[in-house]
């Protein structure tokens, strides 16, 4: 059992949690994730470690309501309560070095996920430019925190309700036109990462993406998270989750996240029905 030490809403449908996990806090590095199971009938869901506090012995996760499990967590679990299982840190950490100028692109919940990487890159001496985007202003969050760890921040919204109108990939293109960026990270929806990679390719610059596949164990034992990297099958949970965007078969990634569409809908309906009773 893991206690929820703190819970707060950071945006529309997005909540931040501090969970008691002193050993994970000590052991984790930016880019790694945990697997969480809410209760005895719950599924194992992967969530990125967005921050850690050694003093408090906690890790921070930021959760966007996407389907049954994330909505259940966001709606029904409160400060002081406990979640059943938490395992981690999993996956390989981001490669942090002094590259020079780096760009970090976060879309949707990806905004939270670039935060620890941006901070580590900044501490390593990089000039950090962050591009954060959401559908609309009410879905944006973490702006202050991203600003704290970046030298420049560019905000985009699909509808122009905050920052510049358009996609993060458009902002990336403009940035690459004017600046010499050594390396970039893009974390967000598959489509966003795919398009960012296309932009990076135009400018012949390296882009890292973090692959949010479906996972079960998160330790290499099932292959449910398999992805195609340079034509070879790899497991996102142990070989990733970060890979060079140029090596990723994004269409396969998108295809495989659709496997359980019907079941996800069914689970959510059942849950919401139970809620309304």
């Amino acid at each position: 059992m893991r206690k929820i030490v703190k819970k707060s809403k950071v945006g529309d449908g997005v909540w931040e949690y501090e969970l008691e996990a002193p050993l994970i806090a000590e052991a984790s590095d930016p880019g790694q994730f945990v697997i969480l199971r809410l209760h005895e009938k719950g599924e194992r869901i992967p969530l990125t470690i967005a921050d850690t506090s050694l003093e408090e012995g906690t890790i921070t996760i930021v959760v966007q309501s996407a389907g049954k499990s994330t909505i259940e967590l966001n709606q029904e679990y409160f400060e002081g309560e406990a979640i059943h299982d938490l395992a981690g840190p999993l996956g390989n950490p981001s490669e942090i070095e002094d590259y020079g100028t780096v760009a970090l692109i976060g879309g949707g919940v990806g905004i939270a996920l670039i935060y620890p990487i941006a901070r580590a890159l900044r501490e390593a001496g990089n000039h950090v430019i962050s591009i954060i985007g959401a559908q609309s202003a009410d879905k944006l969050f973490f702006q202050d925190r991203i600003a704290e760890v970046s030298d420049e921040v560019i905000v985009t919204t699909d509808d122009g309700s905050a920052g510049r109108e358009g996609f993060t990939s458009d902002a990336l293109r403009d940035l690459l036109e004017s600046e010499n960026v050594e390396k970039s990270w893009a974390i967000g929806p598959v489509m966003m990462m795919k398009v960012c990679q296309e932009v990076a390719e135009e400018f012949d610059t390296e882009l890292i993406v973090s692959l949010n596949t479906i996972m079960v164990d998160g330790t290499g034992m099932c292959g449910g998270c398999r992805v195609n990297i340079n034509g070879e099958t790899r497991f996102a949970c142990v070989d990733g989750p970060e890979f060079p965007g140029s090596a990723v078969d994004f269409d396969l990634l998108a295809q495989r996240t659709e496997i359980y569409e019907e079941e996800e809908e069914c689970a959510l309906d059942e849950f919401l029905e139970g809620e309304s009773k």
Binding site: E43, R44, L86, A87, C222, G224, T233, Y260, C266
Partner: protein, 468 residues
Amino acid sequence: MTVREKAVPMPQQDPSERVGNFDEVPLGYEREAALQEAERCLKCDPAPCIEGCPVGIDIPKFIDRIKREDFQASINTIKESNNLPAVCGRVCPQEEQCQEVCTLGENFEPVSIGRLERYAADWEREHGTVDNTVEDSRAGKIAIVGSGPAGLTAASDLRKLGYEVTVFEQFHQPGGVLVYGIPEFRLPNEVVEREVENLKAMGVEIETNTVVGRLFTVDDLLDGNRVEKHDAVFLGTGAGLPYFLDLPGENLNGIYSANEFLTRVNLMRAFKFPEYDTPVKIGGRVATVGGGNVAMDSARTALRLGADSSMVIYRRSEAQMPARDEEIQHAKEEGIDFRLLRNPTRFKGDDGRVEKVECVEMELGEPDESGRPRPVPKGGSEFDLPVDNVIIAIGNSPHPLVPRTTDGLETSDRGTIKASSRGRTSREGIWAGGDIVTGAATVIRAMGAGKTAASDIHKWLSNGETWK
């Protein structure tokens, strides 16, 4: 008195009924049946069956105690050498171990040792008394990594010797393959949970959700760095990584590794979706590739989840199938369709979902390294099999995380940890056993390795002899 030629049959669920549920297939002997079967034992001395048992259970003795209706004495006899009889009575390949060398088997059917073992174990679960009190009688803390049969056995033996024992398991539930792999209808998870409860009652600590190599390392355990210091470590991390065929189309939707499929169903209880949150998507025509227990378990599980048809594609013939005879028989009774001497060559599907398996016919050639005839493809014999789901069950490889994060721990080319017959690895203070040392093998061998290592750990800690 004449001996019955045939073994007393095991009552089992009717095939047409059992394909619709996840309940156990063999129902277990009733008292009368057990007594009758126990009658058949010839009490040979020396007893070949004891030789045939990887952990050397005194089989004639435990059977004799059943005959005398002293069931407590029977189970106590078994437990002197086997910590998990309720498990082994259900899943051990007795037909190639104790029962294969049974004297009676020379002319008649051998004594059903496995069924009797299960009877004694189930009797204990219902009527027996288990004394779980253990004193902290000895100084020494031992860490066990992995909670499969190897780890659980080592934990139990060391605890009984009076050591403080902690088991670290990466999953949220202990038991290893016994809970995530082997299906309910062969080994109910509840049987394993009960064993785990006994261990806890003995004072063994079980830390789940603990991925050793990520959360802390084996060296941290020995050095007392960030976690409590331990005097010895036993590694029982198993062979849990699925092999894929490496064929075109293998990442299409609808294709599972057996590990993912079985984990979803057994550990995550997807057969009760949506009551449980984890889904599994299986139905229509299901093809399982492979010929071992894992393949049989997968094909039979698919049927129970409502598949219209479930077939097994295997590249050799039935005689070479590594699955237990009982499993193959049960699979046949349930209507599993065996496509032997066939091998997949690619998977096809237009909308991102698998629709066909292209196979090639095989014939048996000269024996290969394994001593079995090598399957050779017949040129030009390719054909398509229409399918809706495919399960790849062609084997598992050792888990690399612990070797990779433990300096100086030697491994073989296959990735298994090198260990002596006593379980000692290349690193002082670290033992290993079970599938992580042998590659995918059996429950009883893993248990045996756990026992051997436990007694050697005790010897080493009490004698202070040098590591070799």
